[in-house]
Each structure stands twice: as C-alpha cells, then as structure tokens.
Symmetry: C2
Subunit: 363 residues, 2 copies
DNA sequence: CTGAAAGCGCTTACAG
DNA sequence: CTGAAAGCGCTTACAG
C-alpha cells in the first residue's frame, strides 16, 4: 500500500470553495478571514485530513522554525542534559531540533554545520571543537546565521556563548582539599592540544592568564583553577602530579590515574577534571583497591548520578547543565527573533557539593 | 549586518552562462552533463559561495533525508545511547535527525509526531508511550510513514520494532540469585498502567503468558522473567517482595526499596528492573547503610558506567543499547528505500554480567 | 548533453 | 475580507 496521497492547501480550498490564498490564510493563521469562511475551510481541512507542509512554508518565509545542534557526543551525560535543556525550550516555542555529533573532530563539525545549513536551520548551537575560532564558524557567523556556543567558546567569534566558571570552581575544589591539609594533590584532566608552549610553562604562567583570554578549553581552565589554589596557599605545583590524559577517554584516564597512584611519593588527594576522567579515576581506585578517604581523598568535577550514593559519597562540582542548554536555546531564539545586541558570554556558576570523600591526609 | 544574500542555483547558472536546469544537474548531481559544463558550473558555484537549499529540493522530490525520533527522555543514559546509534547510522547515510521527547506523555507524543510530520521526515523512530497501539500511530502507519518502534512495541501495529529480551534476561538474572541460594528475592520495578487485572493476578498468570502477547511494557516483561525463574525453582512468589514503584522515578524507587528493606522479613536479594530503579535502590541501600553482598545481594537490569567499579562491582544485565539505535535506524532506512516486506520484530539478547554483588545469603 | 517550461505546496504583495 | 498572480529554489519530464 503506497503512502496515502498528501492533501494540499489547494484541495482544501477546492473542497471549501474558496481560493488557495484564503485557505492558506486560515490554515496558516495569517492575514484576515471572516469567521464563516474560516469555519468552512477548517471543516474541509478536517474532512480531508489536511496536514501542513512546513517545507513549502519555510521555502517561502525563509524561516524553518528549526534549530541545529552540534554536540560533541550525545552519548555523554553532559550533552544529554544540555540537549534536554535545549529540547525543552524548543518544544515550548514550537521549534524543532536537529541533532548532530562532532566527536570533537573538526571535519565532522564542518560536515554537521553544512548539513544543518542545507536544511536551513534558523540558528545553531555548537560546542566548537576548536576554540581558537575555526574559519568555518567565522564565515557561518559572518553570513548572518545566529549561533550560540556552549561549553567552550571562542571569544573572538561574534557569537554568544554559555559556559561554566571552570577556573573558579576548580579553584574552589582544590582549595577545599588544601584546607583539609592536603599538599600533594594530583589532577587528572584531558589537557589536549596545548598551543601556548609546554605544560610546565603553562603552569608557571597560568596564574597570570586572564580567565577568558589565553586558554578556553575547559580542562585547561580547570587546571588554571588548580594552579590558582596552590598559589593562594603558597604551595608549589609539582608537574609530576598533573595527569595529562591527552584524550577524552576513561580508559586513558584510568591509566594516567594508575600511574599517579602507584608513584613512590603518592598523592593524598586526586581531583578529576570531568565526568569521563572521574570514571577512569574510579576504575583505577577500584583496581588498586584504595580506601577512600582513608588512603586517598577525591573530588570530581561533574556531578554524576552515582556520586551521591557511592560510599563514601563523593565531593563534586555541580554544573547547571540543563541550564546551559536552556539558556543557549533562549539566547538563540532571541537572536532568531531579531535581537542584534552585542554577543553575550554567559559564564554560569558551578557549585561545590561537599560530601564524604574528603578527609585530612593520614599523617 | 543582515544575513548575506543567499546564492541560488539561478545565480550560479547565470554566472556560468548555462540554464538553471543544467546548473541544477551538476550541483544536484543528477542527470547528465558534459565535463566542461560541469566544471564551469562548479567554478561559478565556488566563486559565489553557493549552498544548496534542501528545503526546495525536498519540496519537489518529496524526500527530506531526515528521520524523526521520539524518545521518551533524552536525559537518560538509555536514550542517549540509542540516539548515538541512530545518529551514527544517519550520519553515515547522509540523513539528518530531528529529536523530540515525549516524557511518556501521550499528548506530547502526538505533538511530537505532528511536528515531525509537518517537517516531512522520511520516517520515524519512536518509543511509544502506549504499547497497546495508540490510534495516532496507527493512522500514521496506515498513511504510509515508515516507522520503527524501539524499547517497547505494539505488535499489532504494522511497524518494525527493536526491543530487548526483557523476560529472558530477567529470568536469567533471578535464576542466578536462586542458584546462589536466595529464596527471598525482591524486585523493584516501574510496573505502571496494568490493564490485565491486579498485580496478584498477573503474577499468578504470568508464566502462562506468551512473551510477546499480553504485556509489552519492559518492566512487566521483566517481572514475568522474575516469576518464570521462581516457577522454574518451585519457589512461590511473595507479592510482598514486589516493589511496584508506579512511576519512572528514582526517588519513588528509593522509597519503595526502603520499605522492602525495612520489612521484618527482609529480602536477602534485590533485583532492580532498570537504570532508574537501580539508582533509587542504591540510594536506599546507602541510606540504610547495608553491606553488599554480606547483608544483601543485588542485580541491576541496565548496565551503567559506574556499576563496574563500585565496590563490590555490581552484577548487571548488559543491553546492547547502541545496537538498538543503529538497528532501528538501519531498518528504517531500508523501509524508506522501499523495503516493503512484512514488519520485523527484532528482539535483541541482553547478557548477564556476573560481578561481585551476589553472594549466598547469610544463614 | 542542454534548455524552456511547468510544478512541488505554500505565502505574499497587489487589486478589488 | 477575498482572489488572481507571482514567486520561494529547486527538480522533472519533454523537446531538441
């Protein structure tokens, strides 16, 4: 059985005995129509089972009522929640959401943007792979496509952004460990693609960088916060305590954590810079059968479901993830609606959620 | 600065000095063109920065190269992974994915389907709220829209489905507990909306139901497996051990688990019927400070990241979640491409992942 | 292989 | 308030 023939506005108009223009006005809810004509058209539409074709409408109006999202990886609690926030706002406003994944790959990101542009989305929410302002995003924005960056942002792109205060919250978390008396605190973080010289150099200069300037990748910002806290306490940073995983992989994080935890001068605390790093860290801790917090204190950036009932409950940094998505969508819809004010860079606060995984180091 | 004026095929044709039909043929990659004309057109397109408008193309071809997804809740590891599977296949085949959430609400599901239809998706992947074949899905399918059901399925809908062997894997898991010597095994499950009479009656008759017949909601199927295993071992089912949460909420699951675990004749094992129930269960166990597996053995349906490194590591049922999504997308694309064979109901195997959270009951 | 014409299903000025 | 006509940006027969 073939698809039932689609009913068009023309057929409804014929059935109702009016012109297509008039039928369009009542069905599309624009222009003026008298009540009785409207009723006739609606009756005809119902009778025939008319469904509007938004492709045709979009073609003429130039508005698709659709927003495009380029997530890094939807199979990740962070993006899943962001997308929830985006979806909630979009639904409330009658917008559709087209989803793509970049997998942190610039070519895929380009392809994704290209796909979304061809589908004529009204605007884009993107977690850019490259935070130094890739040319394709620049030309996208120059071309007038409303764009909101999430999670990370290139500040020299003329586009809004919604991010989290990575540096400040990491600083707070590490401060919490320092206050508890820890002096050998390891950090395990992605730290991929450094373009400002060596890691050692970065550490030496991190405290002097402006938050929104030299480095805009979350894991580097979190390392900045780690350095800031040490500086506040006059504790020198031991580069040997920086577990630079190099990729966004829990297995790689597990390896890096294992190396750190087996070193002769073992750290007494470990700070995992995001959810994926946390998973790797937890695996390493389980493999080595370390007791928390007796042998090791831990704090995780990114509050995952299980962290609150693991025993001991894990101290975390709680990001307003749903809000990232909903705010990005709201900003984008405002731009689509014609807001042309200067780009806004929204930095949301994250909250330290103190729980039992931190104790003073064993003397 | 307004959006840069969009370049159309007409302008490219003019620039190249050919007709729009010819320009369309090379740009749209259909029909025949000579190499030198193709080169001229491509040069003109590149020079002007031509981007195809897929809305116009879809309007005339009747194909949008887009699939619609109605997930229950993207902010849920299960759907996030399913969507990953869908997205991977879609990207490989050049399809876009429009995402909506139903939140298990029939009205939202209808709205979502409506939105997707207006955007003229070529097909739909849906986790139906109501498994008894809602009228709106029935008419959708009768209208010829290719549709694949996931996670649960109405078998009297003429649409493919991809689900998991819930009953069989639950039976295997509970058998594992029975073999370990447990005789008081509680189950905590959603079990919403029963239409076959009372819970007691269901339990009495569950073993006689065909797997794919009377009940098609995952949590009920998992309860069936629980009953099956008891029957296999000649162990009567105590309805007092069935924690019927009534909604898909971890807080509610926590409450139900707490009640079960505080009862005078406490179960020695607890089977959580999905990820959300597992989270509630774990919270209850933490609150009551029970030792696993000394005081309680547990098995979770749904393998979440953390279950493997929690100590003790938790025995789980591992569902091929990504595969659910990719298979659903492949099936759908085949239908879109014209496969008109009878609907297929694919039931994927889930695998018991034995880990340390099960031990014999304390005597 | 190429072009002139028609048309996909709507909306938008423009008359009336 | 309503209708005839044109047009959104493409693709599709149909001639040549």
């Amino acid at each position: 059985m073939p698809a039932s023939p689609r009913i068009t506005i023309t057929q409804v108009a014929a059935e109702a005995g009016v012109s297509t223009a008039t039928a369009g006005r009542v069905l599309g809810n624009y222009g003026y129509t008298s009540d009785d004509v409207a009723a006739k058209v609606q009756a005809a539409a119902r009778k025939l089972g008319y469904k509007p074709n938004s492709l045709a409408r979009s073609l003429v109006t130039g508005k698709s009522h659709t927003i495009g999202v380029v997530a890094a990886d939807i199979d990740n609690a962070f993006y899943a929640r962001v997308l929830r926030g985006i979806g909630d706002v979009a639904r409330a406003r009658g917008f559709g959401v087209i989803l793509t994944n970049s997998d942190e790959d610039l070519e895929r990101e380009k392809d994704a943007v290209q796909l979304l542009l061809e589908k004529r989305v009204d605007g884009l929410i993107v977690a850019p792979c490259d935070v130094r302002g890739s040319a394709h995003l620049r030309s996208l924005i120059a071309g007038g496509c409303p764009t909101v960056q999430i999670d990370r942002a290139s500040y020299d792109l003329a586009a809004d952004s919604v991010t989290v205060d990575n540096r400040g919250s990491a600083r707070e978390a590490v401060t919490h460990l320092l206050k508890a008396g820890h002096r050998r605190i390891a950090i395990i973080a992605e730290l991929e693609e450094l373009h400002n010289g060596s890691l050692e150099e970065f550490v030496r200069q991190a405290a002097h960088f402006s938050t929104n300037g030299e480095t805009l990748y979350p894991s580097w910002q979190r390392l900045q916060g780690y350095v800031d806290a040490h500086r506040d306490f006059g504790v020198p940073v031991d580069p040997g305590l920086i577990g630079r995983v190099g990729s966004y992989s829990s297995d790689a994080a597990c390896q890096a954590a294992t190396v750190l935890l087996q070193s002769p001068d073992r750290p007494t605390a470990l700070f995992a810079a995001d959810g994926t790093m946390s998973i790797g860290m937890m695996q390493a801790i389980a493999d080595l059968d370390l007791q928390i917090p007796e042998q090791l204190s831990i704090i995780c950036f990114d509050d995952l479901d299980w962290m609150k009932f693991t025993r001991p409950a894990i101290t975390t940094i709680h990001q307003p993830v749903h809000r990232i998505g909903s705010m990005a969508a709201e900003l984008l819809l405002a731009r689509i609606a014609g807001d042309t004010s200067v780009p806004k860079h929204n930095v949301l606060e994250a909250r330290l959620q103190v729980r039992d995984s931190v104790a003073p180091p064993r003397s």
